[in-house]
Structures are given as structure tokens and as C-alpha cells.
Symmetry: C2
Amino acid sequence: MVNVVTERKAEESHRQDSANLLIFITLLTLTILTIWLFKHRRFRFLHETGLAMIYGLFVGIILRFGVHLPQDLSDVTLTCAVNSSPTTILVNVSGRFYEYSLKGEVQDSKGHDVPNAEMLRKVTFDPEVFFNILLPPIIFHAGYSLKRRHFFRNLGSILSYAFVGTLTTCFVTGLVMYGCVVFMKVIGQLGGDFFFTDCLFFGAIVSATDPVTVLAIFNELKVDVDLYALMFGESVLNDAVAIVLSSSIVAYQPEGDNRHTFDGSALLKSLGVFLGFFSGSFAMGAATGVMTALVTKFTKLRDFPLLETALFFLMSWSTFLLAEACGFTGVVAVLFCGITQAHYTYNNLSAESKSRTKQLFELLNFLAENFIFSYMGLTFFSFQHHVFNPLFIIGAFLAIFLGRAANIYPLSFLLNLGRKNKIASNFQHVMMFSGLRGAMTFALSIRDTATYARQMMFSTTLLIVFFTVLVCGGGTTPVLSLMQIRVGVDTDQDNSVTAPDGMTQRSTKHESAWPFRLWYTFDHNYLKPFLTHSGPPLTSTLPACCGPIARCLTSTQAYENAGQLNDEDTELILNDGGGLMYSDMMVSTDAHGMPTPSTSQAGLYSLAGTSDDPLDRELVFGGTRLVLPTDEPPDPLTSFPPPPPSPPLLDPLRHRV
Amino acid sequence: MVNVVTERKAEESHRQDSANLLIFITLLTLTILTIWLFKHRRFRFLHETGLAMIYGLFVGIILRFGVHLPQDLSDVTLTCAVNSSPTTILVNVSGRFYEYSLKGEVQDSKGHDVPNAEMLRKVTFDPEVFFNILLPPIIFHAGYSLKRRHFFRNLGSILSYAFVGTLTTCFVTGLVMYGCVVFMKVIGQLGGDFFFTDCLFFGAIVSATDPVTVLAIFNELKVDVDLYALMFGESVLNDAVAIVLSSSIVAYQPEGDNRHTFDGSALLKSLGVFLGFFSGSFAMGAATGVMTALVTKFTKLRDFPLLETALFFLMSWSTFLLAEACGFTGVVAVLFCGITQAHYTYNNLSAESKSRTKQLFELLNFLAENFIFSYMGLTFFSFQHHVFNPLFIIGAFLAIFLGRAANIYPLSFLLNLGRKNKIASNFQHVMMFSGLRGAMTFALSIRDTATYARQMMFSTTLLIVFFTVLVCGGGTTPVLSLMQIRVGVDTDQDNSVTAPDGMTQRSTKHESAWPFRLWYTFDHNYLKPFLTHSGPPLTSTLPACCGPIARCLTSTQAYENAGQLNDEDTELILNDGGGLMYSDMMVSTDAHGMPTPSTSQAGLYSLAGTSDDPLDRELVFGGTRLVLPTDEPPDPLTSFPPPPPSPPLLDPLRHRV
């Protein structure tokens, strides 16, 4: 009989779980339908994530105030003589042993005043769900869809913003918050402990800007590619920095809550943790990416797209598990795995797998993202330990504003000293305005809500996310037009409209800083040929003594390609500087997906012929191949529409808002 | 300090979980690479699922005998005065409350002789994972990819095999097993209780045949379409029957283990449970399918394939959750949802969403299937309560053989009395031989391994699965050629090669039984126009009094299509009988995905002109549109290659083995 009761209860619990998940699925379905309605009616003010959040808020209100379930009083409190809380305990109930697993510590288990706490507790997910299930596909997708060309061209600036900038934001925010907390303590507005490390932790979690909302708008409006690359690169990488940074700050105070003075060895340890976590996760991510590239290169898996896609998916997932199993940060590893996969493996995939993997991760990203945002809305009402402190909230908003400003403006000034292609002040304002906080900030803040400080942080963070997503996200379009940012830019087109002399072709390469050029040469000569079918054969780039190895590692396709560079990234990185002359002609596809170049072939070939540098000539031929990827050039009389009446050069400003 | 220790333990446990999952991911990756190697070398003897199983076996051996981890002695046994085992308990450890959730009853918690039990226990998944995560995508994919044309033509036979046949198998197997168990009891070979209901339960779980392995081979070899439809339809539906049947049998003995005599009311209750579960799950599945069809019909979601795919995925998933939340069987609901989605919603999707949804569920199915099979291999060594009883095993093999025979041969005989297109005896032998047991049988048997009877069942079931997948699966190709089954059949081609008079065109419709014709007419006149854009407008099929409603529900596209039937299924169901004359000409696409009909248009149109029945003429036009989905007929002189030199009629036997 006991057994039957237990089984029935387990069944009941399973049904309840299904019903809860169903709430979220319904929410997401509603969100999708409303998004469609918005898109259909060209209503751009509210992004889908904002919408998901608002729906979540409504459901949260209903669950909190509308539904009244009979309280489940089956909780049994056992008072035990054990002096630790093991992960598993066996309970001996009249001769039968039952296994129980630890779910976590419960605060003030009885005596809360919320009427249907049980119901609310049921719709609460384990915070680790975010880190282990929902964030990885989002972050991987971000890495996998980095616009490589402009990303690599702005690599230095992006890394500066992501590392130096995020650290600056974190410390500035932390210091402002510390000032605020000290002030609150003085006037007696603080209801619990709040230490300096808590302030720094808060700084770390709110310094992760979200790539989702703003970039969706950027993408839709086809905003200036350099601005896009800077924003996207920064927000993707600073997620990684923020997550490692917050772990390091937690590592600073491992001894419990009793010591909160400055400690040199703890600081060193934190620094070590930061560097170790970051480099370890980076290495894991890159390693599995490289392994996938090698496997897809040296097998003929491309004949079976299903197998290839499955392998790609599993290897990418294994990055996460490997990093977590080794004690590194899975989410960070997944990001670098995504970048590596996009840079190398993607070139080895069959055309079908390319679209399959893209679509798969696009879908996973979409679902996970909207799930997180609707959960965010819901948890605003279902979370039972909110601590809303007006002073703290005002301080926090001030702090994130100052923190963001301390990141963008000084760094941009410093970067502009070295950049030929300056970051204009209107770009800086947009970057300042568009620093939304989203999924990563939420996941980091909900991870631990045990103490008073963390609860106050969580509540404040939720408000910050709501505000930035709804107000900053919604205001992006007006701000873009206010700041006169170019929109409607073809992503494969360059923005150097200011130098119409046709000689900027080689400038991108030369204008790049030397570390980038060094990396580019290494990547192009050794890594690309080693990991993909493109680039020059290794036999020609490696020294003669490595001949046998080079022959083994070079695929037959690489030899075939030896004369002609069909390395997409090369074109993307090096050739874009010369995009002016035929920028509007490059890769504009008609409705049937067929390329429709709008100038004749002769012009291109003659342009290639006038170039002195043989590499550049190759590159222009590369560009030609990009425009017309057919082996026999089709007859322009029958296949292509006539060139458009107005050549793009006549009106360089027509893309401005 | 206590807190820190707990956290560290949770972290350790998380790392261990990641490592375990990594084992499976590595296994799957290895499987994929080996499958590729097999496919690459055209080695067809072992299917991927068999391979996954064998790899799982190896890893199981290594974990069991190779790895020796220090025993984790953190289990604490509490002896409590509570007289039930609640799902959640709070443990008061020196003032702090920890929440523990019930994992299940533990048998002989101490004193087992396996050296690294902890390690093995760690790689053991909760059996509910199979029902809630892994089976749904497999079953949905099966429903979604049912070959509709031949499925509906053989619907009566398929339903007979699935319902009457599976019930027969279950009872015959159960009776044989009961005889075996009684014999074992007499000679003292039985180490525990084994009741008649246990025998029936065993019969139910081993009566679920697996559609995976054999049909993969059938698909690859392009086996006769009717045989394919019979096998696929039966094995997909009998999964549903078996799962509901096993629940009903469990419901027969709810009072505990003390009464095992015949009980009329319990039998009635079982019957009620069976009918209730089945019809409820069917209704849920069909309802969400219909809802998805309506949503995709009445919104213009097709302009945004990502949204459409996400909606499709979420709605299909919600079927499962809805059914589980209402206490029905989610897996069964998902099957019928899949069939409904394929029959209605699929027609409303945009071309991109069609391929996206297909590819997505193909991938999910592939991953889940291989995961289950590798887990099966692993659990053979990691499961710690195996009861291998030679007599029982021999009895079980005999019982499944007899049970399968009692399903196929008598039913085929009865069905052949009514069928015009007889089920040949070689088809029957193949169906008899190819009744593999797979994922569903495994999931059902691992769900409950608490008692001696269930443990013996589980061990025996594992052996049956191994044997059938490896031996029967591997032997399918030889058996097909031994039985002289036609292979290399175009799936869009009919098998009625024996009536080359060109007048079989209408025979398929007339040869179908009246319930099918009734359903077909209803579906074609009312459901199709209501749920999709195809079929005749509702305004013309509904009575005049329903005019306003009909106008609301009919899409503009349906009016446009009114003259011409572009209902794919119609063609598939009704037109296939006439496929003989131009069967090899239909829908053969060239490498660029463009249709290349191999006879001139004139022949088709004249064929259409000679038909008396206006419906049939429409249908032939429908076939024409299928061949050439362009609005302006292209010039045959420039667009199409010349007709092939040998018409298919000259050599009707060339497709035979």
C-alpha cells in the first residue's frame, strides 16, 4: 500500500511537471504568433524577447494572484543528528529503504505569507538549467554566426572592449555600488550584509551585455557593418568575460562570510582562477572545434548530411560537457567552439549540412532565448524572496550607466589613436545606449539567491533587464536615426565610401594591426590548409623537411585549388577594402537565388589586370568567383537582367537615414 | 563550512554527470563515424542501431570490469518514524533545512557484490527519461514520415495487424510464458513469484515491434511499397497498442501482490483503461495536430520559416505534455499528432519549413534512437539485478516466435479473404522474420525493475532485443532475396505490374474497402478543405445553409485551386493505380532539383482526354501538375532531355532480385 501511494504521488508530480512545462510552451506559442503579427504589420518597436518577457509577466501575475491551489502538506521535516548534508540519503521507512537526493537548502521553510507558494515553487526551475541547457545553444549560436569578415577586421577593438572594457565596467559599477551601499548603511536603509565582493559580483553580472535584441534590430535594418561587428563581437565576448569574472570573484571569498578585508593572496588566486578558467575553456572549445574540422575534412562524411549534422551537433555539445567535466566553464568553451566551427569546420561541410546546422542552431537559439525571457517575466512574480530597495535600485541604474560610459568612451578614444578607420562618436553613443542586459545577466543572478545581498541583486537585476530590453531595445530604431547611422547596408559591402579612388583594395590588410596580420598569415598558410580544403597546399607553405607530413595532411582538393584561392574568408577579410568600385554589384541575388551581377565581366577582369601585386590579383579573381560561382561564364545576353540605371557611385549618401 | 562542503559535493556530482553524458556522446560520435565507414564501404549487414548497441556493450564491460573508483561512502541512512515515503522531505541538519526529493525505493541497499556499484549507478538514467525525452521524438518521427499513400491504401490490414494482431501476440506469448513459468515452478527453477499478469505484461512489452532497423534496410533497398507500408504501419501502431496494453495490465492488479485470481470487474476496468487511454491519447494528438493545421492555415506564418518551424515544434511537443498532464499516454498522443501533422499541417507549411521540420525530426530521431540503443548495450553490464534463467529465456524465445506467428499467418489469411491485392506468402514470411524488438520494448521493460519477476523479464527482454536486432536485422537482406521480394522499387511507382491494360487507374479506389472510401470522401470533401489550402472549396461541399461559415473557412487559395486538384494525397492515393503507363516518368528530378519528365506533354494530355470519368481526368491533370509544377509549360525542345530509350513496360521483371 505504501508503494502504491508513493507511485501515485510520483505520478501526480509528473503530471504537475508536464502541466508547468505546458504553461511555458503555450507562452512561447503565443509569443511566436504575436511576433508574426508584429512582423506582418511591420511593427518594430517591441522585439520578440521583450514580448516573451511581457507574456511571462502576465502569467506570473495570474499564477501569483489568480490560481489558488490547496496547499500540499506532504512535506515531512526530519530532525537528524547528521552534521552534514550529503547529496544522497537513504530513508528507512519501516523496513524499506528509499533514496532521496539533495535539492538544496531551503530558507525559512515555513511561515511565508504567499498563499500558493507550492504552485509558485513548482514553476521554478533549477538555475543550473539555464547554464546546462538554455545558455549553451544561445552562446554557441552567437559564436557560430559571428560575421567573420568584419569581426576579424575589428578584432583588436572587440577584444579591447570585451576584456579591458568589461573589467572596467565591472570595477566602476562595483565601486559605485559600494558607495551606494555604504551610504545606505549610514542612513540605515540596508536590511542585511552587503560586502565589497558582493558589489564587485554585481558589477560582474551586469557587465554582460546581451547580443540578442539590439542585433536583431541591427540585422533587420542592415545597420553599418562595422558598428554591427563591434557591438556583436563585444556583447558575445563579454558574456564569456563576465561569467569567468563572476566565478573569480566568488573564488575570492571561499572561506565563508566572516572575512571581508583585502587579501593579496586571494586576489592573486582570483586572478589565477580568471586566467585559468578563461584559457582552459578557450582551449577546450578550440580543441573540439579543430577536432570536428579534422574529422569532417578527412572523412567523406559529407556524402551523408544527416550523419554530418549529427556529428557536428554532438561534437559541439561534447565541448560543453568536456569543459564542465574538467571543471572549466562550459558556456565559454561553447562560444569558442562555435567560433572555431564557423571559421574552419563550416568550410568542410556539405551544402546541405551547412544549411541544416545553421537552421538547427537558429531554432535552438530562438527557443532557448524566448524561453529564458518568458521565464524572466514569470519569475518576477513567482520568486518569493524579492528585496526591492529603492535606493539600491537607483544606485544600480546610475552604476550601470557610469560603468558602460567608462567602458565605451575612454576605450574608443584610446582605440581611435591606433585605428585608421575611426570609431565615430555617433557609433560610440549607439554602443553606449544599446548595452542591453539579458539572458546571461539573469542566469548569473538567479544562480545563487541564498543571501540577502544576492536577493537584492537579483530583484534589481530583473528590473535592469526589463528596463534595458523594453526601453533601450525599443528605442534602438529612433536612436539609430537620431544618430544618423547608415542603415540598409549590404552586409557584403564595405563602408569606406569616403575613399573613392579604387586603390583602397590593399588598405584593409595594411591598415590592420600587426598582431592581426601575423595571425592572419599563420591562419591562412597553416591552419586553414591543415583544417579545411581551402588555402594553399601545406606542401608549399611548410618547410621542405616536413614534406611527408604536409603531403598527408593536404587534401586533393587543396591541390586543385592551389592556383585559385577559393577561401571565402580571405575574400571577406582582404578583399572588402576594394569593394567600392563594384560594391553594389557583389553578391546580390535575385528571387530565385541566382547571382545577378549588375556590371559586365570585362570590367572586373580588367580591374584584376591592372593590379600590380599578384596576391591582390588572385584576390580579385577570388572576388570574381564569389560573384559568379559557375565554371562556364553564362551568356550575359540571355541570363542576366540589364544593369540597373543608376550606378551606386553617383549617390554615396543614399543609404543614410 | 557545511555549506561549502555541500556546494563542493554538488559541483562534484555535476562534473560526474557531465562526464557520464560525455561517455554517451563519445559513443554516439564513434557510432556515427563507424556508420559512415560502413555506408562508405557499402557494408549493409549491421545497422547503425546494432552498432550503437555493440559499442554500448563494450563500454559497459569497461565500466563494469575495467574502472575501479573508490567507493563513495557518503550515503547516510536515516531511520524514521514516518509511515509513508513522501515525494519531498526536509531534513533539519543542525538548524538548517535541506530539501530532498524522492528518487525511488532501493533494493538491498548494502551487501551487493559488484565492486564499483557507485560508478554503474551513476551511468544509469531514470527510466522515465526514455518516456519523456527519448521516445517522443522517435515516435513522432515515425508518425510524421508514414508513407501516406500506401499507408492509407493498406489501412484496414495495418489496423488489423496492429490491434487484433498485437492483442493476439500478447495473449499467446503470455499463455506460453505462463506454461513455461508453471513448468519451472514444478521443477523448482523459479526463484521468486511470477504471476499470470506478469506473463501477460511480458507478452505486452515484447509485442511492440520496432520500425527502425528493418525499415532502414527496406528504405535503402527500396523494397516493395506495400510490404513497406504493412511493416511500417504495423510496427508504428503496435508500439502505441503495446504501451497502452501494458498500462491496462498493470491496472488489472492495483491492489498489491496478494490477489492473483481471475477478477471480472478488474478485467472490465482493464478494458476501460485500454479504451480510455487509447482514445484519449488519440484525441489529444489529433486535436493538437488539427490546431497546428488551423494556425498555419489562417496566419501567414509561412513568410517566416523560423517562426513556423518553432511553432510546429512547440505545438507537437505540447501534445506530449498535454496528454501527460491529463493522465493519458504522451507517446501515443505524439504518434497520432505526427500522423495528423503529416496529413494536414505539412501541406500548409512553406517549402523551407517542410524541409526544416523534416530534417529537425530526422536528426532528433537519429540521436534519440542511437542513444537508446547504446544505452541498451551499456545497461547489459551496468544493471545490477540481472536474473538470467535459461529455461525462462528459452521459453521466451519460443513464446515470441509463436506469438508473432499467431499474429501474422492467421490474420493474413483472414485479410486475404477480403483483399483484392493479396498479401503474398513471401510477404508474410518476411513480416514474421522481421519483427524486431527495439526501443519501445526496452523502455517498457526498464520502467519497473523492482520485483524478481520484472528483473527476470528485463534481462530476458534485453537478450531478445540483442538477438532480434543483430540476427534478424542483419539477416533481413538475405531473407529478402531468399523470399524473392522485389527491391529497387520507386516509391512513387505502383506494384501492379501484372495488369498492363492501362485501365487499373480507377481500380485502387474501387478495390479499397468501404470504410476507407467513406473516410476518404469525408476527408477529401470536408477535413482537407477545412484544415489546408487544398481540396474543393467548402462552399461547394457543405450544404447551402452553412454558406457563411464555409466562406469564412475556405481560403482564397482553395478557390483558385477549385478547378484543379493539387491535393498531393489524392494523387498519391487514387492516382497510383494508373501509374503503370507513365510510372517511370513521374517525378524524377535531375541533379539541380528540376523536374525532368521523360515523355512529351502531349501524351499525358491525350491520356487525360481519353478518360471518361471527370474525377479521373482531374486526377490525371493533378498528376501532370505534379510532374510539371510550372504555370507556363516550358518548351520541350529546349528544356528537357529526350525520352529514355527503353520504356519500362518492356521489362516488367527487371526490378526483381
